[in-house]
């Protein structure tokens, strides 16, 4: 650890210093996320009524649905950032880091959507899991992005990593429409969309809908906060890697001269 510190400072020059990836913007986002999340929890448990058909298990939906939507958002962000990174390859390693960070957060939210969905399924369907089209395609999407993260971790050369993972991200994002429309395309246990349905008819009580959208806002803010911090973390890791390589080369040259 000490040697890394030394090499980073010597290669990168100037002061090693401000120990944060936070800014005023991320602090504001973070504070807003905490406040809105607290409101969603209070509303989900104490304000919204039980559903006529689902009973109290509907309270899980205020976490499950936003988690699934934010996972979609994260994977689409990964694809867009990857596309930009491919087109403007030489100048934009930042977009590759955003793609990676967004996929990491997307995997978390997709995993949460699967777990909360499974708990809801136990209450509503009487089983934690069914090889149903929606559940199966969602699991497939989750595994695909775990694979994407594995591909990112294989290569330590940032340029090569950016190119390979961008191609994969652009292919993986094509699964999202398949997941979303799986309940329409095939016979599924999973209910059709109550909000984002093709006929545009929102089938939810007002308080329930407001709580659901508050959840989406809260999770979106959490997503933005996490992606900003994690892409800066990736920048720090790349800087450390570069500094370590430069130090190793310098040491090798010194040995050759001696």
């Amino acid at each position: 650890m000490t040697s890394t510190t030394g090499s980073a400072t010597s290669a990168g020059n100037t002061s090693a210093g401000t120990a944060t990836t936070g800014t005023l913007f991320t602090r504001i986002i973070g504070a807003a996320a905490i406040i809105i999340t607290a409101w969603v929890v209070v509303s989900a448990f104490f304000i919204t009524p039980a559903d006529v058909q689902q009973g109290d298990s509907v309270r899980i939906m205020y976490a499950h649905v936003p988690a699934a939507w934010i996972a979609y958002l994260a994977f689409i962000t990964t694809a867009v950032a990857s596309g930009i990174s491919l087109v403007r390859r030489h100048r934009t390693l930042g977009f590759d880091r955003v793609a990676g960070a967004s996929a990491e957060v997307g995997v978390l939210f997709m995993g949460l959507a699967l777990i909360t969905g499974s708990l809801w399924g136990r209450l509503t369907w009487g089983t934690f899991w069914q090889w149903d089209p929606r559940l199966t395609t969602t699991l497939f999407l989750f595994v695909t992005y775990v694979g994407y993260l594995a591909v990112r971790s294989i290569d330590t050369n940032p340029q090569r990593r950016a190119r390979r993972s961008a191609v994969l991200a652009l292919l993986a994002v094509l699964e999202i429409p398949l997941v979303h429309f799986s309940v329409v395309l095939w016979r599924s246990l999973h209910q059709e969309a109550s909000v984002l349905n093709p006929d545009g008819d929102v089938r939810l009580d007002d308080v329930m809908l407001f709580t659901l959208f508050s959840g989406v806002v809260a999770f979106t803010l959490i997503f933005v906060w996490l992606v900003m911090h994690r892409q800066r973390l990736a920048a720090l890791q790349d800087a450390q890697l570069g500094a370590g390589l430069e130090a190793a080369i310098a040491m090798r040259r010194a040995e050759t001269v001696a």
Binding site: A8, S57, I115, L233, A235
Partner: protein, 44 residues
Amino acid sequence: MDDLGFILASWLVTLGSILLLAVATLRRAKRLARQTPDDAKPWL
């Protein structure tokens, strides 16, 4: 409230996982940022 255990578990897993990732990210970022010169931090 019926099925409180399942509902609580869902929320605890959700909020707990997010909190864990946030804390782990901040701790790792803090450690790496301390070792990295400020000119490699464009957000500052």
